[in-house]
């Protein structure tokens, strides 16, 4: 369909654009920016007056819970949540049941996802068979079937020798490895940041050096193997400093932070709110400030939602027994906007963290609106605020620490490949 998006404020971080410019889409691609291509007659016109026209968001981590955890959420519900949140592409971690360690499983997932015709799914393959940390997976096979990278999700990878070999093997083919730095022994049994709040509440703590020690080991291995490594969900201020130094040394690393960790700290645990039980834990206010600073100066490349739907039963338990995770696909844009507003960052810079940067990390030509780009567009009202309630969330996971919060950024239209996949009907 030929579409003309008119009178909107075009914000395209990759091309440094933040201006009043119309957008023209045809055959699933961007065909004109500012001026219509010669002879184009729009079949549909979207009035974007007062709205921001941005590339569709790219979420580097969203658990869709299929296969295996359908009682928590399904592909349908989560993909609908994604487009309602303006997310047009997302990467899902391999910790499904069974884990994504076989080409057949990966293909089933991608086929199911494309048949739904909503957002595009990039599966991350398991780094070891069954995520058991003993045997490498057939990375070349998995890559042929669609895996864009390999990771160990949140499963501890204890054997550092195996990690080294896995990195070497991935480097052989130029594959990227995504790792969340956490020392399994230092983090054992911990459920909260090891600080004043955990001491008061009597919760077993995960010290920040559980992350920095593991990060140090990973960076050393990257120095040796040259593997492209993406570091997931940094939480400690020490990690930000280490990543900055590693980038100065030109190590091939990128990293992300969860949108939740930009806003919340250990103080938000309150009276044992299990919605704040997440991994990595919400750390001190100082850690949070350093994460924000890292995002602002580019030490940290991207923001993701780390979307993890958890059924209510698994949250209605004493904190330490509750299942960790927060739902977040629909909050990625609002939380990014809230952060950029509070930090007084220009919108074009802030949105880069959820569009052009994730695209660069994934190595795909998306997350921007230059001529020839895929027509993935998110049109939203930055001045409109909404209240986070279970009813308003389309995800089956209602487990968010932001319940009751008012957040900015209401999505009006989401287009994927030039087709409208979400339209707000109010």
């Amino acid at each position: 369909m030929k579409i003309h998006i008119k009178d909107g404020r075009l914000v395209d971080p990759r091309h440094g654009v933040d201006a009043a410019r119309d957008l023209y889409l045809a055959d699933g691609k961007v065909v004109g920016v500012g001026a219509a291509p010669h002879g184009m007659r729009a079949e549909r016109t979207i009035d974007a007056a007062g709205l921001v026209v941005a590339p569709g968001l790219i979420d580097l981590s969203a658990r869709l819970r299929e296969p295996g955890f359908e009682y928590k959420a399904t592909l349908e519900s989560e993909m609908l949540a994604a487009v309602a949140g303006g997310v047009t592409r997302l990467a899902c971690p391999p910790d499904t049941d069974p884990p994504l360690d076989e080409p057949g499983l990966v293909e089933m997932l991608t086929r199911r996802a494309s048949s739904l015709n909503l957002a595009k799914v990039y599966p991350i393959g398991a780094l070891t068979a069954k995520l058991e940390g003993e045997r490498l997976t057939e990375m070349a096979e998995l890559s042929d079937h669609g895996c864009v990278a390999f990771s160990h999700a949140d499963v501890p990878l204890v054997d550092v020798q195996l990690l080294w070999r896995a990195l070497q093997y991935a480097a052989t083919f130029g594959f990227a490895v995504w790792l969340r730095p956490q020392d399994p022994y230092l983090a054992k049994d911990g459920v909260a940041h090891d600080g004043d709040v955990a001491t008061r509440l009597g919760l077993a703590g995960i010290p920040p050096f559980a992350e920095t020690i593991a990060l140090g080991a990973i960076l050393e291995l990257v120095r040796v193997t040259g593997t492209r490594v993406h570091l997931c969900r940094l939480s400690a201020s020490g990690s930000v400093e280490m990543v900055r130094a590693a980038k100065r040394d030109r190590l091939p690393i990128t990293c992300d932070v969860s949108a939740h960790h930009l806003h919340l700290s250990e103080m938000d645990l309150g009276y044992f709110d299990a919605h704040c039980h997440v991994v990595p834990p919400f750390r001190s206010q100082r850690d949070r400030e350093q994460l924000r600073a890292g995002l602002a100066d580019g030490a940290i490349d991207a923001i993701c939602s780390d979307h993890t739907p958890v059924d209510e039963d698994a949250k209605q338990l004493p904190f330490g027994e509750s299942e960790p995770g927060a739902t977040g696909l629909e909050l990625l844009l609002p939380l990014t906007l809230k952060w950029s507003g509070e930090s007084r960052l220009p919108l074009v810079q802030a949105l880069a963290r959820v569009t052009s940067e994730p695209a660069r990390i994934l190595g795909v030509d998306a997350g921007h609106l230059g001529v020839g780009a895929p027509a993935d567009v998110c049109i939203f009202d930055p001045e409109s605020w909404f209240k986070v309630t279970p009813e308003r969330l389309r995800s089956q996971g209602k487990n968010t620490p932001f319940l009751g919060y008012e957040l900015p950024g209401v999505v009006r239209y989401t287009l994927v490949g030039g087709e409208t996949r979400y339209e707000q009907r109010d």
């Binding site: 090891d194 600080g195 004043d196 709040v197 955990a198 001491t199 008061r200 509440l201 009597g202 919760l203 703590g205 010290p207 309150g270 009276y271 044992f272 039963d313 209605q316 338990l317 004493p318 904190f319 330490g320 027994e321």
Partner: protein, 315 residues
């Protein structure tokens, strides 16, 4: 966020933790407990306050001692007491904690006394029960043991009268101790100026100074001129492993012997929440000696629990 222990009139309707309670609430409980001490010395050791009320002891963690004192306290208030040892009941069959609570509420429980291995369990239950039901935390994980903190405060007040000049030393495994946390809170609320914790680094939590205590690793320094010495129980699982090498070395460095006690004031009192490990955290000579008030603690414990139950049930 309103303190979940207080109702909309600011009255105590649950007792979950001592942290954040106003000083008047604490002193009211201690004063009421003083009245109950006399009850136990009469022929009829009961008062009719909770007659017709059902108190359910929900113990997810085994403890005959604590459960027995709560049972005695409830019966002295003329309440009906039901004991539930959850290890052997429905939760083993997969019933969730909250389903158990709902089922018991349907049996007209008025008060739940809850002990659980997880921090925050009592808070969760209190959030869940309806307005006419009361929850008393008998110990949740390492978080809080408020009735123990209160009876410790009562004991100290009984022997030392005024908190304003006291040095109190708490010795042992602070990291895992809900007793220590509750005691530190209540001492700070009552204005004790010098609260000390003594133990090896491995047994002290990261935020202990922020809790309101001075840290010592040496017994002689930590006990110097102390008015009150509180010895914590060392659980056997902690004695050998990444936290401590052996019970013997712990006793050598941190066990309370007459020689170490000599560093404290001549009239210092020695307390222990019980049960004691003789020869590990405390020497028998001290446990049975003239400064020990460990047995009176138990008696006061019943009166304190009667006070807590009667105040909470009336709000």
């Amino acid at each position: 966020m309103r303190n979940p222990q207080l109702n909309e009139h600011g009255e105590l309707t649950h007792l979950l933790t001592l942290e954040g309670l106003p000083r008047e609430v604490i002193t009211h409980i201690l004063d009421t407990a003083a009245s109950f001490v006399g009850v136990t010395e009469r022929e009829v050791k009961k008062v009719p306050l909770l007659r017709g009320k059902s108190v359910f002891n929900l113990f997810f963690e085994n403890s005959t001692r604590t459960r027995t004192t709560f049972e005695i306290a409830a019966k002295r208030l003329s309440a009906d007491v039901i004991n539930l040892n959850i290890n052997t009941s429905s939760t083993q069959k997969g019933e969730t904690l909250l389903d158990t609570v709902d089922n018991l509420s349907a049996m007209h429980a008025d008060m739940f006394v809850v002990r659980h291995a997880q921090s925050g369990a009592a808070h969760m239950i209190a959030r869940h029960v309806g307005p006419e039901r009361h929850v008393i935390n008998a110990g949740d994980g390492r978080h809080a043991h408020p009735t123990q903190g209160l009876l410790d405060a009562y004991t100290i007040r009984h022997y030392k009268r005024d908190f304003a000049r006291l040095s109190v030393a708490i010795v042992g495994d602070i990291l895992h101790s809900r007793v220590a946390r509750s005691l530190i809170h209540v001492l700070n609320i009552l204005g004790a100026p010098d609260v000390r914790v003594i133990g090896p680094q491995t047994l002290l939590p990261a935020g202990v100074a922020a809790l309101g205590a001075r840290v010592f690793h040496d017994m002689h320094q930590g006990l110097a001129d102390a008015d009150v010495v509180v010895m914590l129980r060392l659980q056997s699982e902690r004695m050998r492993g990444p936290l401590l090498p052996s019970a013997q070395e712990f006793f050598k460095c941190y066990g309370l012997t007459p020689e170490k006690l000599a560093a404290a004031k001549p009239d210092a009192i020695v307390m222990h929440p019980g049960p004691m490990n003789r020869g590990i955290e405390i020497d028998s000579a001290v446990a049975d000696g003239p400064r020990s008030v460990i047995l009176p603690q138990v008696t006061f414990g019943i009166a304190v629990r009667m006070a807590v139950m009667s105040i909470v049930a009336g709000n």
